[in-house]
Symmetry: C2
Subunit: 221 residues, 2 copies
């Protein structure tokens, strides 16, 4: 049985969950309080990070490497295009969301507001929260600009870039940190991706002490 060790509000775990679900690969989800450094978990994963995908007897780490692997062994539906130029654009955007967006927005908002409390690391740093709330506007505008020219973020087909971006935005939406009125293009894009069957498990997530807002799981938000 394929098993994913994950934390519900980790964008990297959500990216892998979306990819698995889109490809209809059955997986058992195991919630891992990775910051507690359980020795059994550390044995599986010395870096102490999530996600860890246990598949065919092997533990796999690094979400982008996992997702590209899944796309290669289970190519339907395809999340990476075939053309090198298009593949570059998908990978560029995946890196943009997982590095730049993560550093400037996700870590500043989700980690400050939720992870710090769950991990008992103290109160949110209001400077970080303020910086994240400011920077997300710039990123939503960038997405708006991309979606002005394309049906999906990396081109006219849905790709791993869309799942990567949606993984981050859905974590932020869980704590009501996305202003859906800022861009109709972004809102329409998120409505399309949110209504996919692959998204269902993510919309059902619950973090104790942090109930999601009513619009979070609403397809007509």
């Amino acid at each position: 049985m394929t098993r994913l060790y994950h934390f519900p509000l980790s964008p990297f775990c959500r990216k892998v969950r979306l990819t698995l679900a889109e490809k209809r690969i059955e997986v058992e989800l195991v919630e891992e309080r990775y910051w507690e450094q359980d020795p059994e978990f550390l044995r599986r994963n010395p870096a102490g990070k999530v996600p860890i995908l246990r598949m065919n007897g092997r533990n796999m780490a690094e979400s982008q490497a996992i997702c590209e692997y899944l796309d290669e062994i289970a190519p339907e539906p395809r999340l990476m295009p075939r053309d090198p130029e298009a593949r570059y654009e998908v990978r560029r955007l995946c890196a943009w969301f997982d590095d730049t967006f993560h550093d400037e927005v996700t870590s500043k908002l989700v980690y400050e507001r939720v992870n710090k409390k769950v991990m008992k690391l103290g109160y949110p740093d209001s400077r970080n929260v303020k910086a994240g709330a400011m920077r997300i506007k710039f990123h939503l505008d960038y997405m708006d600009w991309l979606l002005e020219q394309r049906r999906w973020l990396a081109g006219n087909e849905m790709t791993l870039a869309d799942f990567t971006a949606a993984a981050h935005l859905s974590c932020l939406d869980y704590i009501s940190d996305v202003d859906w009125n800022r861009s109709q293009n972004v809102r329409d894009w998120y409505a399309k991706i949110k209504s996919r069957p692959a998204f269902r498990s993510i919309l059902a997530d619950q973090v104790p002490g942090f109930p999601p807002p009513p619009h979070y799981a609403d397809l007509d938000f």
Copy 2:
């Protein structure tokens, strides 16, 4: 003409330079003091980062996306294997060095000792330098363990994982922060990769105010 905007001691730029050179793609190197936020450079690259590869009239960012693209359009010599399991392992290690190793070691040593001075950001933070000097030992031991089982880091063929690791280690070697006596396996591996023609331009790098140690460019170090 293909042009790379780079900074000599950036591991991400070095990874792209090594890939270009290995594939014998001629490139004009343009040193970019990216932290000075030159408006002309920012126009090409709103994120203000290096490397930026200007190729066929388009500006490309994100080193891993660039290198995989180069491997797809110029497959000789191949830096990504064909088998999905092997490709996963290459990508996992690229992410390991570019994220974990970078955060724990490269940023703690190269950025503290060199970039801070070059960018006029003050003195190195000795806690960071100490932490980086401690963590590099763990990483060298991990590389030793991999190389005990394999000829190259990700398997028995040289791949992008080797160039990624060598990009980081060569920056650290420029400031004498690699203890080559810690592992004969790692030393032999680095000697092999350092003697490739693709490495020459990197061994000729000079950062004003930071002369490299004599062993840096010595193939018999």
